[in-house]
């Protein structure tokens, strides 16, 4: 493997246009790139919050079906209820302004640091739980696109000829419709306006062409490399060549592109839930919170600020990390 020859370079990864090889080298590189490291921290924090929210909202809801856990009092939003209040519970009928104003402290404690929404629910808690939808759908959709696109692109690039034509033309049909219109049409056809799963898959399918093109071009260049020719002469099967040479050479661009695409997918998901697709009340999501904030724009100005900031910070995090990874792993793509 290429890593052995470069091991003395581990201390200076990415220097001189050489890509960083391996996890440790990549991390070391990211540590030196301040903006990429900031992105990494944002991504880790948001992922941590989203994981807690996922366990609390989804896993506990599932566990509560079993007698054992039900008797322990484990139920949906168990953590939130125990520590604070449920993100779906209505606590006050009127809108409370955010912290710094007299209403922020209830009974001597910080009751609603970021105020409440139109139904009196705590905004900070709903922001925390909204991160689950953003990340879950963002990451899952990107995985769908990356895996689907990589398979199509690898097959098209490796076999070439009519296989290439069929694969790439089929994928390009997806390019003929603007993606949001396509996603909206798919969601309404499947009558799955509230289905997260369908949102994940449709948002992912729409990114297939992009990954397919990326992998296809990478495969085309690898296919002609001398070592692949040598492998073919040595009698390796097509599958073995793809697995041993093509895949390792294509991982870096997919990781880079995937990281950047998670940010875009989060923006798309926020837009969809803003329009009322993907999640239904009372599940908290950033886009839906912004949609609600429109109705009470003048009563509670801050309510329309926080969810947008949450989206912005998360997407900036993924973009910084993606740019940093690109510099570290794939200097050829760097701008």
């Amino acid at each position: 493997m290429a890593g052995d020859g470069l091991s003395r370079n581990l201390d200076e990864p990415g220097v001189g246009g050489r890509p960083a090889v391996g996890w440790r080298a990549t991390l070391a590189y990211l540590r030196r790139d301040r903006s990429a490291f900031a992105g990494l921290i944002v991504v880790c924090v948001v992922t941590g919050v989203a994981t807690v929210a996922f366990v609390d909202a989804v896993v506990f809801a599932y566990l509560s079906r079993f007698q054992v856990f039900a008797s322990l009092g484990v139920e949906q939003y168990w953590l939130a209820r125990t520590v604070w209040i449920s993100p779906t519970a209505e606590v006050a009928p009127e809108l409370l302004p955010p912290v710094g104003l007299e209403n922020a402290f209830g009974q001597g404690q910080l009751a609603h640091p970021l105020g409440t929404d139109d139904r009196g629910r705590d905004v900070l808690l709903r922001l925390f739980y909204g991160s689950r939808i953003a990340l879950q759908v963002g990451v899952a959709a990107t995985l769908v696109g990356a895996i689907g696109g990589s398979v199509v692109g690898a097959v098209a690039g490796y076999y070439g000829g009519w296989v290439d034509d069929v694969c790439m033309r089929a994928v390009e049909v997806l390019y003929a419709v603007p993606f949001l219109v396509l996603v909206l049409a798919l969601l309404s056809v499947l009558q799955a306006r509230d289905s997260l799963l369908v949102v994940m898959v449709t948002v992912g399918v729409v990114t297939v062409p992009e990954f397919a093109r990326l992998i296809r071009s990478r495969v085309l260049s690898v296919r002609e490399a001398v070592y692949v020719e040598a492998a073919r002469v040595a009698g390796l099967s097509n599958l073995a060549i793809v697995r041993r040479h093509v895949v390792p050479n294509s991982v870096a661009p997919v990781v880079v592109q995937g990281t950047l695409r998670v940010g875009t997918a989060i923006l798309v998901v926020a837009g969809l839930s803003f329009l009322g697709f993907g999640v239904a009340e009372p599940t908290p999501s950033w886009g839906a919170m912004l949609a609600t904030s429109r109705d009470v724009l003048l009563q509670n100005v801050w309510f329309s600020v926080w969810p947008g900031l949450a989206i912005l910070v998360t997407v900036v995090g993924f973009n910084l990390l993606g740019d940093g990874l690109r510099d570290a792993l794939d200097p050829r793509l760097s701008d």
Binding site: S188, G271, L312
Partner: protein
């Protein structure tokens, strides 16, 4: 091969794509669960009423027959009758399309006017404070949801300061009698511009940021190219190098990005129309979806798709026109 022939060939290549688009939307729209007749007539209509409505909209025909009728209709510019509005879909689209086009074109114009200088300055002052600020601005631009920018603009500039209205667009060619706050042609124009400012800025930010990023990268690339070094060695002024040598060569990828941004510009337009209550194509397709109005969904998707394909061809042709290296070869 000349540019005209290249353009014609690109248009011909788009025909199968458009047929595919029509087929796709037809299949999608007819797979919609839920009966549109029920939506129109309420929960328990009489059988005669159902039959009457079904016959009127051709819903009693077999699927294949409906497909042929549909394709023949589209070729004659007939997209069917909207179930919700009870008028021809083409009439609705003709009302709505100009607003969306105005919004998208204006946002591209704003984006280009701001992004190109931003990218150039950023590249020229590489790694200075100006460059860092410009990079942060474009990073924030590509990371911020356009509809949120729209909401904040409404909050600050419409409700807070009252500088611009946050209502439906006014078309510049509208009759002064129908426009509030305008009595003359000039008044209508002023109203049109003030109504356009906030949605355009909200929608243009993403385009601006993406174009600025690529402009900066390409200018950096061009400024370090051999021909620039050579020009410097010959004593060509920096200004001339920037405007004559580097700038021209850096613009081709920018055109590609403009084409690639078209899809997100349309997506952004749908969201921005909702935020500002603009009665354009975006709110039209949403009305169709919320009301199971399948001729309307079909028609708007087809028009969106066609506009998108034409936009892509336009950028391809612009690219070929600007790049002397492209020979319009048959295999391209």
């Amino acid at each position: 091969m000349g540019l005209t022939r290249y353009a014609i060939r690109r248009l011909l290549q788009a025909v199968p794509v458009l047929v595919g688009l029509l087929t796709l939307t037809f299949v999608l729209a007819n797979a919609i669960p839920g009966n549109p007749v029920e939506v129109m007539l309420g929960p328990s209509p009489s059988l005669e009423e159902v039959a009457r409505i079904e016959a009127r909209y051709g819903l009693d025909q077999p699927l294949a027959a409906r497909y042929v009728t549909y394709l023949a209709g589209v070729l004659q510019g007939d997209l069917g009758t909207s179930l919700y509005f009870d008028v021809p879909v083409t009439q609705k689209i003709a009302e709505r399309l100009p607003k969306t086009l105005l919004l998208v074109v204006a946002s591209y114009a704003v984006a280009l006017v701001t992004a190109v200088p931003l990218g150039i300055v950023s590249a020229k002052r590489h790694n200075t404070a100006t460059d860092h600020v410009a990079r942060v601005v474009s990073l924030l631009g590509v990371s911020t949801p356009s509809f949120w920018i729209g909401l904040l603009l409404v909050l600050v500039f419409a409700y807070g300061l009252g500088w611009f209205p946050a209502t439906d667009l006014v078309m510049p060619w509208a009759d002064p009698a129908t426009v509030a706050g305008a009595t003359t042609r000039l008044g209508v124009l002023v109203q049109a511009v003030t109504h356009l400012v906030l949605p355009t800025v909200a929608l243009g930010t993403l385009q601006m940021a993406s174009i600025a990023r690529i402009e900066r990268a390409e200018m950096l690339d061009a400024l370090s190219a051999d021909y620039v070094t050579l020009a410097r060695a010959y004593g060509v002024s920096e200004r001339r190098i920037l405007t004559r040598h580097a700038f021209r060569n850096a613009q081709l990828p920018v055109i590609t990005v403009i084409g690639l941004q078209l899809s997100s510009a349309i997506a952004g337009a749908v969201l921005i129309e909702v935020v500002f209550g603009i009665t354009g194509m975006g709110t039209l397709i949403l009305t169709g979806i919320y009301n199971l109005d399948y001729p309307l969904i079909l028609g708007t998707t087809v028009v969106f798709g066609t506009a998108f394909v034409l936009g892509t061809i336009l950028t391809d042709v612009a690219y070929a026109w600007l790049d002397p290296r492209i020979t319009y070869g048959e295999g391209a």
